[in-house]
């Protein structure tokens, strides 16, 4: 009696396992996604290729930036997140071109393209080993995605299995949203100026 059940039971079990494996097969993009290196705002995060530290996170309803001698105001239907950080390459010259704001609901916000030509933005300057450089980032995110967010920094968005710094942003509160943040051009060692009003 038991012997006659054993066969079909094994087949059923195998089918269930195969179905489970088929349903949980990771996507190719998951298998080759960047390897996270975690850290927190205010501390240095070391990946094998670069080190980065996030100092200040400013929130604002609008950003004023001077370009070609003219002040322009950028409004947003969300909130501007302006991040001041510093980064250095470790062994080889490299550029950090990918920065994303990972909100608490799992949505990744790319860098705002509207301020991408500001000096200090990712991709405007190559990092050299041993020379830390200030880095500026700007995101437009919904107000609900401010607290509990993580900043993701990598050399590029597509390199499989490269390391990505995951920096927990701890110092953002909705009541700290300023009306305006003013960005200006700075000098060679500090490429921008920032005033919050």
């Amino acid at each position: 009696m038991i012997g006659s059940i054993k066969g079909p039971a094994a087949v059923l079990l195998a089918a269930a396992m195969l179905y489970g494996m088929q349903r949980t097969t990771p996507l190719y993009s998951d298998i080759t996604s960047p390897v996270p290196v975690t850290g927190r705002q205010g501390e240095r995060v070391d990946t094998s290729a670069f080190a980065i530290g996030v100092a200040n996170v400013h929130l604002a309803r609008e950003v004023t930036a001077s370009s070609f001698g003219r002040d322009r105001t950028y409004t947003t239907s969300g909130v501007w997140v302006i991040i001041e950080a510093a980064a250095a390459a470790k062994q080889e010259s490299l550029s950090l071109t990918s920065a994303k704001w990972l909100g608490p609901n799992g949505v990744r916000h790319a860098l705002s393209q509207r301020l991408s030509s500001m000096p200090g933005m990712p991709g405007t300057e190559r990092l050299e080993p041993g020379i830390p450089r200030p880095m500026l980032m700007a995101f437009e995110v919904p107000e609900s995605q401010l607290s509990g967010a993580t900043l993701l920094i990598a050399r590029s968005a597509v390199t499989p299995l490269a390391e990505e710094a995951w920096i927990k942003i701890t110092d953002v509160r909705a009541q700290n949203i300023r009306s305006t943040v003013k960005l200006g051009r700075g000098n060679r060692s500090q490429p921008w100026t920032l005033e919050a009003q």
Binding site: Q91, R126, E128, P129, G130, I131, R188, S189
Partner: protein, 179 residues
């Protein structure tokens, strides 16, 4: 054939298969990653150390480092390293089909890529060098020509034992290492 004899034969086949895995698995990995491994081997580099000022034959030309100058950098605690070098063409055809890669290395294994535009310190201290081309324009040369090149690098002030590496794609894995 008795049952025990059949069992013994089966067991032998079983252990033989297990042992064969140890050989077959690495072989399969090797076959499937053959190209990657070949590329990796090609990247394993083979330096030709050249003393400053000495001539070295490489990829159809005679190469020489004519200057490795340290200039003040525009950022605090940095320096600009200006490397001037020249190649006297011996085999234009062999030289022409090369891509050139230049890097500056230090004793801690750090590698700097050349700046695209020379820093202002280069213009001020060595205006002639600022006008020299980057490494990589080898088309249309003829035997006996001397190509003068310059590259500049931004390095931290504490970088020591700097060496210039010049590699041409056609002559890899060998590359020149000027000290």
């Amino acid at each position: 054939m008795t049952a025990t004899a059949a069992n013994a034969g089966e067991r032998r086949r079983y252990w033989f298969s297990i042992a064969a895995l140890a050989v077959v698995l690495p072989a399969a990995i090797l076959v499937h990653t053959g190209d990657t491994i070949r590329e990796w081997l090609r990247d394993m580099r083979d330096p030709i150390a050249v003393e400053s000022g000495a001539l070295q034959r490489y990829a159809g030309a005679d190469w020489r480092l004519t200057g490795l100058a340290r200039l003040p950098g525009s950022l605090p605690k940095t320096a600009v390293v200006l490397a001037e070098f020249e190649a006297t063409v011996d085999d234009p055809a062999q030289l022409a089909e090369n891509r050139c890669q230049v890097a500056l290395t230090d004793d801690r294994g750090r590698r700097w890529q050349p700046a695209f535009l020379p820093e202002s310190a280069v213009h001020k201290a060595k205006p002639a060098a600022a006008d020299k081309p980057h490494c990589g324009l080898f088309e249309g040369t003829s035997t006996g020509d001397t190509i003068m090149m310059a590259e500049s690098f931004v390095v931290p002030e504490d970088a020591k034992s700097l060496a210039l590496s010049v590699s041409l794609s056609g002559a890899l894995p060998a590359y020149l290492l000027f000290r």
